[in-house]
């Protein structure tokens, strides 16, 4: 086991997974507060949740799930030597990230123009539980949006390396790890969506 000669794939992937755990626990703090405040304000979470638009949330869910599919396939493509296909798939992933963010922009914009944002006067007239709900909503989706952007940049960087053949059919762990990061972004959203957009009863 002389780690300095060959690239250690298992080690690299394991390191990435450990990093993903830290991301899970980072978001975990927000989910923790969600759980606690949901227990305290069940009715108000429902009335606030109804204000969110399922179409925005659902649409973005489809976008992210599909982008995850693209990334997953792109790795198989690269390893089978289909470099162009791989690059196209990754390009589509970034396109998905853009669509997601545009969607998010319109969604936030609509809320903000209704006067619902952290610290707003309108928010402060609401029930305590509703305030907490929206504050959590903004922090969680904001942090998630930040991860979407970082994830897209990571994918773009992987594309760059693939173009230069530094990442290729024989040496692809960087793409694998970029993909893992992107899937994490998807994973978080899989929980955000029902907790915030589907809390109707």
């Amino acid at each position: 086991m002389s780690g300095h000669v060959h690239k250690d794939y298992t080690g690299a992937k394991f390191g990435m997974w450990l990093f993903l755990f830290t991301e899970v626990l980072l978001f975990g703090g927000l989910f923790l507060l969600y759980a606690v405040y949901l227990a305290r304000y069940p009715q108000e979470f429902i009335s606030a949740g109804k204000e969110l638009n399922v179409w925005f949330g659902g649409g973005n869910t489809l976008v992210l799930l599909t982008s995850s599919l693209f990334v997953a396939i792109s790795i198989t493509a690269l390893r089978r030597g289909a470099k162009t296909l791989c690059l196209r798939l990754l390009g589509s992933t970034i396109a998905c990230a853009v669509i997601f963010m545009v969607n998010k922009y319109f969604e936030w914009n609509a809320k903000i123009s209704h006067g619902i944002y952290p610290g707003s006067d309108h928010l402060k007239e609401m029930q305590p539980g509703e305030m907490v709900f929206f504050n959590l909503y903004y922090l969680t989706t904001g942090l998630h949006g930040l991860h979407v952007i970082i994830g897209a940049l990571v994918i773009a960087w992987a594309m760059f390396l693939i173009k230069k053949d530094q990442v290729n059919a024989d040496d692809w762990v960087i793409l694998e790890n970029a993909g893992l990061y992107w899937h994490l972004v998807d994973l978080i959203w899989i929980f955000v969506f029902p907790l915030y957009y589907l809390i109707l009863h």
Partner: protein, 94 residues
Amino acid sequence: MSEEHTHIVPYKTFAIVWIGLLILTGVTVVVAQYNLGAMNIWVALGIATLKSGLVVAVFMHMKYENRLFKLSLFAALAILAIFIGLNFFDVLYR
């Protein structure tokens, strides 16, 4: 080279999982329209767990990794569950 270079997941597997994910998304949206009382949140979480299980197992290749990866993932999730769970000794009894 070693074991880790062998497994290439076919396109078809990914496509099937993706369709499964879409169906589950549909299900969770539909179920949310019905009033099941406190069950709503648990059903929603259950479906989300199922979905993330699919993503982790197949998209993220966890299925094909060795035991160390699986154990670590389990440990991380267990700790998160503890961090959230123990708070309820405070929150529920205040």
